[in-house]
Symmetry: D2
Subunit: 215 residues, 4 copies
């Protein structure tokens, strides 16, 4: 697949063509199917075509979830922070990013969070989703650089951002080339922050502050 | 205006036909206009037609903000909770609700919150928006009753919900018939909760718990 | 041991005579010992006599931690809430309570939380302490009933209250007769709330609201 | 007054010799007096002698409140952050600090917060205490430098830290030489952080992150 031929990044495609055999996805779809029998004739409500998604992106802010995977010690203190190293077809550069993905129509925020964690960290990461749905911050991405710290050329996106402890082995799928575990000190370094896609360095710093790990 | 002729409630129209002379809206539009010169030819980016909005509602979850207006004493304790008494053209019934509205394309969450507070409480309410953008909860509305505590027949909506102290006089506009100030005890009563639109009684109880005022 | 002969509850004693072989305690003590070599001659800084504790209780508010143990599903939603059934020597009655204990001198809040979780739930509970030290609420207990919702006849206490997921087997120690796992609905019932010691029913409801599980 | 002759800083004295005509203090005392008629013969329960306070400081962690005063714009975004420039008799140096003070016996956290804001910012600051008692962080000060980021030579202290918008004129009292209003960028600078007393630079950065203002 030649992602950059159509001017979109691989993330776009990965995000919307997730594995339909995924348990969270199946449960979401079956829930939607139940809804569909009453209200919505669309047999596949969460998924929409790239054209429809582009049109939608020009109309409303798009809701995302983002996650900072962490390894905690027995006292709950953060030992390591997971950062994805991902190839961007749009720029040809390797950039660092966080677990991130769209909330589908009919999908709950928790389902979207779990689905995107499994998409980016693999099926054996064993993430422990938080007991409260309140995010550590709300990240607002605007399509023009410089308007706000966070930037997404594709869209106006609003992301609910969570810190998620993972206890298992993380095996990123194809589109995420590598997961790097950094100490809090390294994660807060200017070098790492400068490599974060779309200004997510500020988001990573807020996550570290939330954990009391911003040196 | 005959709202119900087209099967939508008055809230839909009020929400999308806000006063274009509103300062927040003007700043948002001017910001958008600046964006528009580079990317978006649409001269009125936040606003979309009812048809486009209906289509969009079938594709993605729609981002909302909601606010519980409160009167605080000098110690920050809640004296009174503001609840709107609003007529629903869809059902013909009077129901209670919270300050609520959509986040427009190109609009920040804070701008949407201030705009909707002014839309529902008038220009002299003097709301004090919180220093942190983290909501007290994330409210998820699904279009089928019974799936979740919160329900919105029009759409899958996700609302960032805030407690907002107001110090001025609240003069609800046309579509909100009345603003009622309730004590925390009355706001938590089963009677009030049963009258709350779309299951927002649970949301109001979470707001009271957040303020330590759930008896 | 005849707790009630001296007019204090078993909790007092249990709280201050914790197992010195406990890893958290050992690390705390060794840290204190290091401090002691420079500043403090007291060989056992966290522990103080009952007489000194009583005197201290008349002088300053005493800092506590409290925890609501929960079983979460893979989406982070609460399945079950753990409530302790505990004998109070002061009243002779069985009452329900939460995991609770004092923060010792020289002990961090996280160490106190882990130590009290292990004291009340045993060594195989495997609690996952939260990534953020921010509590879901701050609970204030005053020594006179009726002043505030929360009441502690022994003292003015201020507790940092946390929701803590546990994944292992909980085996309460001697002073806690039983750990009961309740559904969120049962935990919010008026019956359970009336049985909670010192007004902790309101605290439990705030925990449920924090988890979005207050029906 | 020669503070340093007895090895304590001026803050100690200022903290415990607050104006007895202060409304918050009066209300606290009258509440305590009411308690006193039933349980406590001490006519002045919150106040304790320096000797008793020193003894208490060796026994239990001492509960504090801290506040970062801020000027917010109409959208709730932080324009300016207030930092106190304060003389330390112990070191002879001028250092920067935050609004800070002990929670007295019988005093609520909110009362302590309001009292200390008025002590440090004067009677016309008009602070708006937050609707929720949940702090943005819990700050732990240990008496040995290097154990934790935060340090207090006098004691093990645990502070509940809040961001508090102020709308009036701030006139610091004698012991606080000056209140400086800084932009978020300046407040986050390495220069300012290095001047913060007891490691409070990390606390100030967490406050900025909480407000989404950490550049």
């Amino acid at each position: 697949m030649v992602c950059d031929a159509v001017g979109i990044t691989c993330e776009d495609i990965a995000e919307d063509s997730y594995d339909a055999s995924h348990p969270a996805f199946v449960s979401s779809v079956s829930e939607n199917r139940h809804m569909a029998s009453v209200r919505t004739p669309d047999p596949n409500p969460g998924w929409i075509s790239e054209i429809a998604l582009d049109e939608t992106r020009s109309r409303v802010p798009i809701l995302y979830v983002e996650a900072v995977p962490v390894r905690l010690n027995s006292l709950g203190q953060v030992d390591l922070v997971g950062v994805l190293l991902r190839g961007s077809a749009a720029t040809g550069q390797l950039t660092r990013t966080l677990v991130s993905g769209r909330v589908m129509h009919g999908e709950s925020v928790r389902e979207a969070l779990l689905r995107n964690l499994e998409k980016d960290l693999g099926p054996t990461a064993f993430p422990q989703l938080p007991a409260s749905i309140v995010p550590f911050t709300v990240a607002e991405y605007f399509p023009l650089p410089g308007v706000a710290p966070l930037y997404d050329s594709r869209q106006h996106a609003v992301a609910l951002a969570y810190v998620v402890p993972v206890s298992g082995e993380c095996i990123p799928r194809q589109d995420a080339l590598e997961l790097t575990w950094l100490t809090p000190e390294d994660a807060a370094s200017d070098d790492v922050l400068a490599e974060m896609e779309g200004g997510r360095g500020s988001l990573l710093r807020e996550a570290l502050a939330f954990m009391g790990a911003l040196s």
